[in-house]
């Protein structure tokens, strides 16, 4: 699905990612954990194509394509989705109008016909039920006046609507109470298939009780310094990150 090789990225001259390597295959769920400032959100932003970052070395191959040569929108159209840590508000633009525009842009990119209003609305009904999103939220402006939990559920709703090949969830659990967490996780689990993959970025092990990863990676100082199975998350929960830091003082 995606292969990241020796990725270096910096912002305002400060290097954040320092030679990151990661391979994710179809059907897999990878969790990326790490202390604050390790570069977790930077990785998400760089893969999605945020302008502020400069890629200084490395390559990313996504489904056989050089991802870094694509524009942000083309990466999305190729099937890369980022669930934002802080979803933005777009006043006056309804969720449905926003999503319909997105879906039809993606379809146009693939040379497919636009989705009819009828098919689109039935898709909205089906997918909003999945994340227990009040159908009223679908017609409200994008994220405007949404609670923290509603915003995160809306991200998963959008993910369900766009059905990406690779979903990157950037700290989707932050600011969620346990019920919202359960709903979000349920949505993610139901969307899982042998054809798609997910990278779950999180600070806490909590989310991984609900979304069980195939691999857990520890990101520290811009590199993946440890990889293991789901039990690694539990170990991190128990011992904290200090032992990782002590083991890699010079990374």
């Amino acid at each position: 699905m995606i292969t990241i090789k020796n990725l270096h990225a910096s912002i305002d001259g400060k290097e954040i990612l320092r030679g990151l390597n990661l391979t994710v295959n179809a059907g897999e769920v990878h969790a990326i954990m790490g202390p604050n400032g390790a570069g977790k959100s930077t990785l998400a932003s760089v893969l999605a194509g945020r302008d502020a970052y400069e890629i200084t070395a490395g390559e990313v191959i996504f489904e056989g394509t050089d991802l870094l040569s694509l524009s942000t929108e083309d990466r999305a159209r190729e099937g890369l989705f980022l669930a934002f840590q802080y979803p933005v508000e777009i006043p006056g633009v309804s969720n449905v109008n926003f999503l319909r525009t997105a879906i039809n842009e993606i379809r146009a990119y693939k040379g497919e016909e636009s989705l009819s209003a009828k098919d689109f609305m039935s898709l909205v009904r089906e997918k909003s039920a999945l994340v227990e999103l009040d159908s009223k939220l679908a017609s409200r402006s994008v994220n405007e006046g949404f609670s923290g939990g509603e915003k995160k559920r809306n991200e998963i709703f959008q993910m369900a609507m766009l059905a990406p090949k690779l979903a990157i969830l950037d700290e989707t659990d932050s600011g969620l109470d346990i019920d919202a967490l359960r709903i979000v996780a349920k949505g993610v689990n139901q969307l899982k298939s042998p054809e798609n993959a997910a990278i779950v970025i999180t600070h806490y092990q909590r989310l991984l009780d609900y979304i069980v990863p195939d691999f857990v990676h520890v990101l520290y100082k811009g590199q993946i310094v440890k990889t293991g199975g789901k039990e690694l998350a539990l170990e991190l929960e128990e011992k904290g990150y200090d032992w990782i830091k002590d083991a890699h003082p010079t990374v």
Partner: protein
């Protein structure tokens, strides 16, 4: 708006330059440049006007000569040379058109290019149109059908000929002849415009619309619009404007007066798309317009404007809330790009008891443009329990543009309730990134964000106009984020 799809928008965007910049190759009867009493007599004579109107013009001219051009607006421009403008230019025509079939094919082609349909039987939705090119009204549709209801909808010149009593009774009652510099000039040299009268208790069954077009070079357009809604009547009025692309600055100085008698309602919508000048600020229309309405008891006037054109705009559609329980509304979107300058807003003058006004102003500045909101809310002693709500938002699209807000509030009655909210924001890189991450390209993303920002105003427009305005907003802001 259901029929309008994103694909339509994409198509529109391919033709992103000012698309009304063409000139119609039509013979014009244009008088020599210059302004004098003789020129005014010539105009009046050409229009076969009654003596009272000529006297009105000459009075305005003599006062105008003593007046100073106002300097308080936040705009910079080279004062027009009033002796270098031709004050009358009319497309040559054999005589008055008796029917649509008599209209010059070149003229018909122009209207088609502008998207104006005059052929009544082909229209699905009822919009009656008065088409004003340069100094004269070219054609008005649906006259007969409206006439059956007693509605008068015709060019101003025709109204002077056929309904002189009505014109004389109401003209100048809202905007005094010498109200301001450009209004005085308009009173001296105005050539045509639209007149509309809705009789008592009649609800006008279709939108009335005037389309203003400047075609000839070296001319100015000075038109007048007078809308009178008699007691208990209702009318929705639309105004659209375009002009050819030229390096010179052409002057457009209009006067629009609205009169809403007891229990009447007037909705007046404008989509202003005069040529804005090129990317370097060369050319474009100077749009110096005076618009004002008066509300009698329990009546309502609602101004909605989408301003995307003109090099310099200077315009404050206002309401005098004279009658008790009357309502004034102002909804505005003003977009400036490149070197455009706009100083626009409204005045809400509360005189009657329990009068209410609402002001929603959305400014969008891009390029190196300057965009100002200037508004006055005035509560007089007599205006017990007056209420006003104002919201002025500014959106900045570049780091070199300016957004300014000049709200004035004068309150002389302690029972008044006045609320004012203002925000300034920059179009978010975060919002754009969010859209792009969902697969939406930059131009479309800007279109979405900007139209969302203006939604409260666009919702006030009749549907056909709203679609047009949406497209216009997106086109006006092409490639302007930076």
């Amino acid at each position: 708006m259901a029929n309008y799809t994103e694909e339509n928008l994409a198509e529109e965007l391919e033709n992103q330059e000012y698309k009304f910049g063409f000139v119609t190759p039509i013979d014009s009867d244009t008088i020599p440049i210059g302004l004098s009493e003789d020129v005014i007599r010539l105009i009046s004579n050409k229009k076969e006007e009654p003596l009272w109107l000529l006297e009105h013009r000459l009075h305005a001219y003599n006062v105008w000569k003593t007046m100073e051009e106002p300097k308080w607006a936040h705009v910079k421009y080279k004062k027009p040379d009033f002796q270098n403008i031709a004050y009358y230019s009319a497309p040559k025509q054999s005589k008055k058109y008796e029917s649509w079939d008599d209209v010059d094919p070149e003229m018909k082609a122009t209207m088609a290019k502008l998207g104006i349909s005059m052929e009544e039987q082909q229209r699905l939705t009822g919009v009656a149109v008065d088409f004003v090119m340069d100094s004269v009204s070219v054609a008005t549709s649906f006259k007969e059908k409206l006439g059956e209801l007693g509605i008068i909808f015709c060019s101003f010149s025709e109204a002077v000929q056929n309904h002189p009593d009505l014109v004389r009774k109401y003209m100048g009652t809202v905007i005094p002849t010498t109200d301001n510099y450009y209004a005085a000039l308009n009173n001296a040299v105005f050539t045509d415009g639209s007149f509309c009268y809705i009789p008592k208790g009649v609800r006008c069954p279709m939108e009335l619309s005037t389309y203003f077009r400047i075609n000839a070079g070296g001319t100015g357009q000075f038109e007048r619009t007078l809308v009178v809604a008699d007691e208990g009547s209702y009318v929705s009025y639309l105004e659209g404007c375009t002009a050819p692309q030229r390096d010179e600055n052409q002057l457009h100085a209009a006067v629009v007066e609205l009169i809403a008698l007891d229990n009447a309602e007037i909705k007046y919508s404008t989509v202003q798309n005069w040529y804005p000048g090129d990317k370097n600020g060369l050319g474009g229309i100077f749009n110096f317009v005076t618009k004002r309405g008066i509300c009698h008891t329990n009546s309502k006037i609602s101004w909605t404007q989408v301003e995307t054109g003109s090099a310099v705009t200077w315009k404050y559609p206002s309401c005098i809330l004279k009658g008790d329980h009357s309502i004034g509304e102002f909804y505005s979107v003003a977009v400036t790009n490149n070197y455009q300058q706009a100083d626009t807003g409204t005045k809400m003058i509360h005189l009657g008891k329990n009068t209410k006004s609402t002001i929603i102003s959305k400014g969008i500045s891009a390029g190196k443009s300057q965009n100002s909101y200037r508004g006055l809310v005035q509560i007089h002693k007599s205006a017990k329990n007056a209420r006003n709500f104002s919201q002025c938002d500014s959106l900045l699209m570049s780091s070199e543009c300016g957004a300014h807000t000049f709200p004035y509030i004068e309150c002389k009655n302690s029972t008044a309730k006045i609320e004012h909210e203002a925000t300034t924001s920059k179009i978010g890189e975060d919002q754009l990134f969010y859209c792009k991450q969902r697969g939406i390209g930059e131009e479309k993303a800007i279109g979405l964000i900007v139209n969302g920002y203006c939604k409260e105003v666009l919702n006030q427009l009749p549907m056909e106009f709203a679609v047009e305005a949406q497209k216009l907003l997106t086109i006006s802001l092409e490639g302007s984020v930076g």
